[in-house]
Subunit: 457 residues, 2 copies
Amino acid sequence: MKHFLTTLLALAILTSCNHPKTDDAAVIKQIYSEALSDTSAYHNLKTLCTDYKGRICGTGKADSAVLWAENLLKSMGLDTVYLQPLMVKKWDRGEQEQGRVISSKAGEHTLAVCALGWAMGTGQEGITAEVVEVTSKEQLTQLGENGIRGKIVFYNQPMDPTHYYTFDSYGETVWQRARGASMAARYGAVAVINRSMSETHDNYPHTGIMHYADTLPKVPAFAVSTLGADSLSLWLKKDPALKLFLRSTSKELAEVPSYNVIGEIRGSEKSDEYIAFGGHIDAWDITQGAHDDGVGVAQTIEVLRIFKKLGIRPKHTLRVVVFMDEEVAQRGGAAYAAWVKDRKEKHLAAIESDRGGFTPYGFSIDASLTQVGRIKNWRPLLEPYGIWWFQKGGSGVDIRDLKPMDIPLLALVSDSQRYFDYQHAASDTWDKVHPREMQLGSAAIAAIVYLIDKYEL
Amino acid sequence: MKHFLTTLLALAILTSCNHPKTDDAAVIKQIYSEALSDTSAYHNLKTLCTDYKGRICGTGKADSAVLWAENLLKSMGLDTVYLQPLMVKKWDRGEQEQGRVISSKAGEHTLAVCALGWAMGTGQEGITAEVVEVTSKEQLTQLGENGIRGKIVFYNQPMDPTHYYTFDSYGETVWQRARGASMAARYGAVAVINRSMSETHDNYPHTGIMHYADTLPKVPAFAVSTLGADSLSLWLKKDPALKLFLRSTSKELAEVPSYNVIGEIRGSEKSDEYIAFGGHIDAWDITQGAHDDGVGVAQTIEVLRIFKKLGIRPKHTLRVVVFMDEEVAQRGGAAYAAWVKDRKEKHLAAIESDRGGFTPYGFSIDASLTQVGRIKNWRPLLEPYGIWWFQKGGSGVDIRDLKPMDIPLLALVSDSQRYFDYQHAASDTWDKVHPREMQLGSAAIAAIVYLIDKYEL
């Protein structure tokens, strides 16, 4: 019993120090009201998506988007706006890719394909070869060199629809895109094509970064739309000897300079201590990059607008980080972490928004259990706005390099049902983002920033 | 301390009796997997929406939809399928409504308007009158007869975007549509037109039921799209004396017979005890009725399919009720309650799905606190699927008449951000429903039905 009472007492002490106050509820209500009734963030998203689509790192579009973000932040009356230089990889997709089925039994068909990001091209002449369909890693190994040499490997493992959280399904299947080329080249494949990482059935191919293993031959790598993958699978049943023609003139180029964009509201008490939050401004060359991740940029810039508008003066410096190059090599995240380390900048927390602009329901927190517990204490303040889920877990790739500096990392977690319908595809356009759903994300981040600033972690 | 220990003991007893077991988690996982990987419910929704659009009570479309539901249930190998007769009101919209602004200063403009449900017509010649804009009940009263007599009252109180739950905003503003006609007729208005109950900005007028007070003159009542309302408001500022021409040839007709449709899986132990769940099959004449409420019909029929497919034999009889006439006079709900009362049918619970086919997050429960507490005990089983919110509150109008029989009533609660974009408008089409979001609703209802069947309330 004594032990039990001691535990109770300890719990009471632990929870009282940052126990939410009534006036916090009023401030958070103001934050949500401002976010839900103002259209700035949605208009920013629309501008970023329509004027700067295809802004993958290394392109002129990315450079222009950086300028846009810098000018936008400068127009907001912040205390500081500046650029953080870094070098990014550069790649060019070349001419419109071609994918064509050639079969005397199944007919001739065009497929909706695209090159995977940073894949090598096929050369001007393209590649024509037989196709072997593979739906698991085990099947690839079983087929081995006898079944694969000289052929195009067609990865067709669909995302498992039975997972509630679609990122779990993505995690299980993305090996096909990320590492499939080298895994197949090991057995002599001449190219690979993978079913798009999407649970919907449409005709958009989804691109995304792929990596070659240093020790294996490099082969061209494509994605085909989910409808195209279903068709190709059927045609292969009709004619296992059908041939596939694939053509891409993509090529890698020399690295070029780029930037993260930073905007700050200086803290009134501890201006050398930071709460950082951001999303990434780069987006795949074939997309507007709305859910991935124009939303994250617009939401986190909106946090500063809300603080300014409501006249909430933070004790610590609030910093939005518009990250460059999440999609390819996460150079923006690395540059930011190096900057923080070099300057020994103390961070109370870093928050990333990169899981789509859908109705948010919580935060995934990469921090100590004590810190997670402190954040969970704020749940009563956020539950009225549907923010109920606070779990220890991963945050995001733009802030992960801050981990060695023991900075608590948070990721906004949003409803994931529709995310992979759009990710990395031309369908990821601004009109797929619902203003209220996105605005709730801005408010959730602003509310948690307000609480971290007030009570620390 | 003794008191404390007694409380602990009491709590332990209270929670143990329906404490979830590990095998329940496995069954619920099966339920979700089946719901998320099968497309039946979504196809049923699509058929109902496209083949039977505009199925408001009293129409041939509604009759055909009843037959469709009956045949669908009969095809599922259920134990019992039957119709429950009732009488419904009938109304005809007549010719396409007209709304036109006539002004020498603001120009001539066509407005996107529709008659409110069960409103009287203007007659063939239409009505032309000056317009007075009203944005609150107080303003109406202040204007009084001097400001209103002979004019058209234009209700233009927008839904308040700052509420998280959009049904709260709807509740605040729907008086304009539901009672606005009589409120204005009291002061001599010749017609009313209200801003559509929607938070989006588009050109769809939203209809919905309106009621005349018996003691006041009846005047025609229209809705205008939100964009149209914004424009009209601007034109009125340019020219307060502008005239509005409104025309509708709608009229009420004699009542006709209709039906609820019932399908059952007979209970293995207590077949005379029921768990009922349903949605309403009627939908406004200008819509496909996807979110409102084809989804509810498809989801609750899906519950029976899931039980059959997984071979879960319920102890109590599971009954889907496809309700007729939620939109107008709730005659289906009344007929069902009368049926239950007449036959003294014991119900463990009744569950309604009528809040849109968006990602669900909980249940609103109209039952005793003890029963609410028992349901809350199941939260650990449902949280992995995003179902975390269990609150005492209203259920739904199709099951509310069961309340006097002390039947616990539950409503599935889904993310509300997009609901009023579509409700009662031509934009409420099946493609606005995301299959996964809708399927999660089917699974949530099936899971709660499984738990109620196993543990009772």
